[in-house]
């Protein structure tokens, strides 16, 4: 069996974001990057599937972006992926979901992957398009927002998260692509021996021009902060003063304190 996991590196979302010079995405100055949270579940599920099948499957992890994404790739290798493809693209942030999907699909089409895992969305863009679009371009069966995954005899039983805590259960024959939701499993922490082992694993660098054949279907006009509609009060300062102020406001504005 061959497994592909697609991951994205995203900024720490507790950061403060400022537009870049072109005003269409954030400036990377002062930002720390990490593996997209949804993709950590995708990596973990791929490794679990490999373990379930007696370590026979080979897992390829793929990431598109500048050299900084090698950090994300190394984490995935340390979590248990076998080899990596780094699609080298310093302008990945200017590509639309259709182009990103087409890069992945172009790589995947000759590889005969049986199962492809992606996150359900990225934390920074949140378009929730790339996974499904890859499946469409490859003609794979696809299910989204997985909170449960089981594999047996060439078929995946997927638990799909719907609104309000309800779940749907669907069966897909491989080859298939699934997009992973938060809580699907418990992503492991790479252990020191596995981090050392990962250093010997192959990372194939591929220039994006080798894989990108598609034009963008849409464009970003601007990146900006939301118009402030919050009319709330912002309180800062010394903790004991803050406590007194909050107590005062709650007495004044709510019926919960008397």
């Amino acid at each position: 069996m061959k497994i592909l996991v697609c991951i994205k590196q995203v900024p720490d979302l507790e950061s403060r974001f400022k537009p870049d010079a072109a005003g269409v995405w954030f400036s990377e100055a002062d930002l720390a990057f990490r593996v997209n949270e949804y993709d950590e579940y995708a990596i973990e599920q791929a490794v679990k599937l490999k373990e379930q099948l007696g370590n026979e499957p080979e897992i390829t992890v793929l990431s598109i972006g500048p050299d900084r994404v090698l950090e994300a790739i190394k984490k995935a290798l340390a979590m248990g992926c076998d080899r990596a493809v780094h699609v080298q693209d310093s302008a990945a942030h200017l590509k639309d979901p259709w182009q990103i999907a087409s890069i992945i699909a172009t790589h995947a089409k000759d590889q005969a992957y049986d199962v492809i895992f992606t996150g359900m969305q990225s934390q920074d863009r949140g378009s929730a398009q790339v996974g499904v679009t890859v499946a469409e371009q490859l003609g794979y069966a696809c299910a989204t927002t997985l909170v449960g995954f089981a594999y047996e005899g060439g078929a995946i039983t997927a638990k799909l998260e719907l609104e309000g805590g309800i779940k749907g259960v669907a069966k897909l024959k491989t080859p298939a692509l699934v997009t992973c939701q938060l809580g699907l499993n418990t992503p492991r922490y790479p252990t020191l021996p596995n981090i050392m082992k990962a250093k010997k694993k192959e990372i194939a660098g591929v220039p994006v021009a080798d894989l990108l054949k598609e034009e963008a279907l849409g464009k970003t006009v601007s990146f900006h902060p939301p118009a402030k509609k919050g009319s709330g009060l912002i309180l800062e300062g010394d903790v004991s003063d803050l406590v007194e102020k909050v107590i005062g406001i709650l007495k004044d504005k709510t019926a919960v304190l008397r």
């Binding site: 979302l13 403060r16 974001f17 269409v24 259709w98 999907a101 969305q121 934390q123 920074d124 949140g126 378009s127 929730a128 398009q129 499904v132 679009t133 469409e136 069966a141 696809c142 299910a143 989204t144 927002t145 799909l160 998260e161 719907l162 609104e163 309000g164 805590g165 309800i166 779940k167 259960v169 669907a170 069966k171 897909l172 938060l182 809580g183 279907l217 849409g218 464009k219 970003t220 006009v221 601007s222 990146f223 900006h224 902060p225 939301p226 919050g230 709330g232 009060l233 912002i234 309180l235 903790v239 004991s240 803050l242 406590v243 107590i247 406001i249 709650l250 709510t254 919960v256 304190l257």
Partner: protein, 303 residues
């Protein structure tokens, strides 16, 4: 301008959120037609054209079949925009339709702007304005961003029959877990977010909840990490609450969390990040380390 709106039907019911699509089309000033995999015994209050496929034949979750049906309606209607809700049904189906047509998709639109569509990004901290470069486009709209409008009337039905086979077999639904705590009845809820840092700190938030005489709530990561059980989760995939007082401790204010608590009468947020989007709904945002502020507030309340 012409829109084809993709309605939703689940567990035998036409979903009310379908009407939010008309709110969006209204703001766009566009003509409408509606598409639904549903039943003619439960028709939407809408006097326009309804492309209707029978759910008894097509199933509620059968993305390949639904995609083919939507494509057929698009062929007949030739809309400028095909509009979905950004829901588990919409974000699953919309990219399949967009890819088949090879047209731009704009996901989770929160507002219509002169130069394009505004969408959230960076966990709701920032916005982007996007513009499709294709003549036709696929749009998904954020739940609750456009107010529902019931156009009224009875639809002219165009029946669609499925062609082809599904490559996904739907086995059925699993109901939501039994609720141990009914947060919907609580007058005061104090919720823990990922900002509490570790499981051991749940006690600090629970103590504040107790001092207020309220219930403990939580954001999703706290539940996913199994720091508290799922019946405490507030949000789209948890419970929807509207207490007299909602206290959000270390919660950033992602849309899926806000959807579950923004109707609270009074919202107090504690966050070390002044720019956290929870500030957009909070009546008071206390910018502080919750590990210092929350115990101090608890102590003061317990005096």
């Amino acid at each position: 301008m012409k829109t084809l709106l993709i309605g939703e039907y689940r567990q035998g019911k036409l979903l009310d959120t379908t009407y939010e699509l008309f709110g969006f089309a209204g703001q766009l000033g566009a003509e409408t037609a509606l598409f639904l995999v549903g039943t003619d015994s439960q028709l939407p209050a809408y006097g326009g054209t309804l492309y209707l496929a029978d759910v008894a034949v097509c199933g509620e979750y059968s993305p390949e079949l639904h995609k083919q049906l939507v494509l057929e309606a698009i062929k007949k209607e030739n809309p400028d925009q095909i509009v979905f809700l950004h829901s588990s049904y919409g974000w699953d189906l919309a990219p399949r339709v967009a890819a088949s047509l090879k047209v731009a998709q704009v996901s989770e639109v929160v507002a219509i702007q002169e130069g394009g569509y505004e969408v959230g990004c960076c966990n709701a901290k920032m916005r982007r304005t996007l513009k499709p470069a294709t003549a036709q486009s696929v749009i998904t709209i954020q739940a609750g961003a456009f107010e529902g409008v019931q156009p009224g009337g009875a639809p002219q039905i165009v029946k669609l029959a499925p062609a082809g086979a599904s490559n996904v077999e739907f086995l059925g639904y699993e109901p939501a877990e039994e609720k141990g705590v009914d947060l919907a009845k609580a007058e005061i809820i104090v919720s823990a977010g990922r900002g509490i840092g570790k499981k051991d700190n749940v006690g600090i938030i629970a103590a504040l909840a107790k001092a207020f005489g309220g219930e403990l709530g939580a954001s999703r990561p706290v539940v996913d990490a199994e720091w508290v059980s799922h019946d405490h989760q507030v949000g789209t995939t948890g419970q929807t609450v509207s207490p007299k007082l909602y206290v959000a401790c270390g919660i950033s204010g992602a849309i899926q969390h806000l959807a579950g608590m923004k109707k609270s009468e009074f919202i107090l947020a504690i966050n070390k990040d002044k720019d956290a989007p929870i500030g957009e709904v909070a009546d008071v945002l206390v910018v502080a380390d919750l590990l210092q502020f929350v115990p101090a507030l608890t102590a003061r309340l317990s005096q």
